[in-house]
Amino acid sequence: MTPLLEVTDLTKHFPTRSRGFRPGGGGIKAVDGVSFSVDAGQTLGLVGESGCGKSTTGRLLMRLLEPTSGSVRLDGREIAELRSSELQEYRRRVQMVFQNPSSSLNPRQSVGSAIAAPLLAQRITPAGGVKAKVRDLMDRVGLRPDHYNRFPHEFSGGQKQRVGIARALALDPQLIICDEPVSALDVSVQAQVINLLEDIQRDTGVAYLFIAHDLSVVQHFADRIAVMYLGKIMEYGDTPRVFGAPEHPYTRALLSAVPQPDPAADRSGRIRLKGDLPSPADPPRGCVFQSRCPVHTQLDPQRRRLCSESVPSGDIACHHADVAAEMLATTTSR
């Protein structure tokens, strides 16, 4: 079965200001050879720390940015080859919800007209039916009919995010790219919005690419996970597998860094990364995780050389995943 969305070797290099852009050299490798797929009606979680390329990936899929190279297929069709009428159809089928609900809404546009805008632009709903459709959408995302003529500043963060979701739903998309949709919200409101997104998926069969840095939210929400670090995917797999038996040293470190809301939790087996994220303009050669990898330092010289000489690939992008688990277990259980 063809996946709904298939991304292969997607790459985006931004020129750096100082040296100018040299293809293949220099530049910021914001997204560097990323591959994943999303099945119809399913959710793929894209996680990683800030600057690792999550939003850039989302913007490439929305065609808000041109990729440097790589392929994106929706239902098997390569989007780089779409003609302009087909591109409009693509833009109907793939929608986006943003992190900051305030900045994605026009402060001078009432909530009703914000939701109506995509309907009017695509001209598929008969003019008379627009208002009814907007009311229907508002009802679906839990906004009251009297909210129709109100303005964004009168709304809380959670309500604004509902407006953003109603807007994304207006054209019955097949895929919604959610870029940190609940990161700016308080936990109790976060739970309201997550439940709403789940209900919508159950009712409409829409697929999500769910971008987040909060691992517990993603674990709750996603069927499959891609863990990114410095523009590359480190680990890719089904959610229960990745969270239950993570194999990449970065995934393990990321999971053990999440503060556990349980004072009695066992904190002995923790992995602590040293140092900060390297600059994406100057990532380590070979494996990009090398400079912080707790396994790398324990390897014998020959294995260690492999880390810097060759870029690991595959669903678990580590040359030494076979010994990583054991090494991490012995170093951390002090």
């Binding site: 720390e49 963060g157 739970a191 990321l254 503060p259 004072p263 602590r272 990364l273």
Partner: protein, 338 residues
Amino acid sequence: MTTPEAAAPMLAIRDLRVSFPTDDGVVHAVNGMDLTLARGETVGIVGESGSGKTVTSQALMGLLKDTAAEVTGQILLDGQDLNTLTETRMRAYRGKKIAMIFQDPLSAMHPFYPVGAQIAEAYRVHNDVSKKAAAQVAVDMLGRVGIPDPKRRCAAYPHEFSGGMRQRAMIAMALVCEPELLIADEPTTALDVTVQAQILDLLNELQDETGTSVILVTHDLGVVAEVCHQVVVMYGGECVEQATVAKLFEDPRHPYTQGLLASMPSLAQRSERLNPIPGFPPSLLALPNGCLFADRCPKTHLVPDDACGTRRPTLTGLDGHPSRCHLETLQPTGEVAR
């Protein structure tokens, strides 16, 4: 994470209230904040956005003196009520006895002075030493917060540091005068999880070394469980519950705390469905007469005579685990004590 024994409360906040006159009316940002903190302990203040966490910290630091804000209640530090001090007298406390670190270190540091010079200056405000001696203190301090090659790094400007290093530098600046109380307002919220873990470990280590008491403001109950001894939960500018960390997670008493804990997705257990608290926090412009949580509370039916809607509960409860809820005072007869 051991609770020091026989700890006399070094800080006691009694019925702190802060309001701001605005064009829309009076904003009641803090409406009854109570907290006790023993020497060497860490207390977490948790609550949703707008619940009054930052305003409480500002009041403690005396940053609301000489502003339009009205601050009432007591802030007793070693028995001295800071709220009665003038701005001039408060200056002797700020930085020396109480220091603060913020979510965004850039806003707290001067962009055009080297990091080392700023730490040295913070030291010289309260210590009569030569510039040279203060510079050495700054180098030592940067080393203690885990900045590699501190001597060279002292000459760097804040923007040359990464987010995690800046937060370390700010911690160095706050701790350089060995304050008795450190207020950290969302110190790791802007950081990535792996760096957040480093900074929380650092705070824990420094506290073990120095015995400083810490107030950690956060919206993340996970962070609280990692580093705090005590927790205060805020809602609508009120302290609604205070407990040891173990008790709060084991036996949350206030319906808001219970709702908050139930609404969190957990890494440890994948649940099928999250349980949000319905509705929104109250408007701070027109507070209801009754309980501030009443219109979202699932337990109002357990309290007779519509007490939830008509009377504001007080902070009551046994075993040093008070909760601001009428259920705490419910008599066997089913009546609410007045």
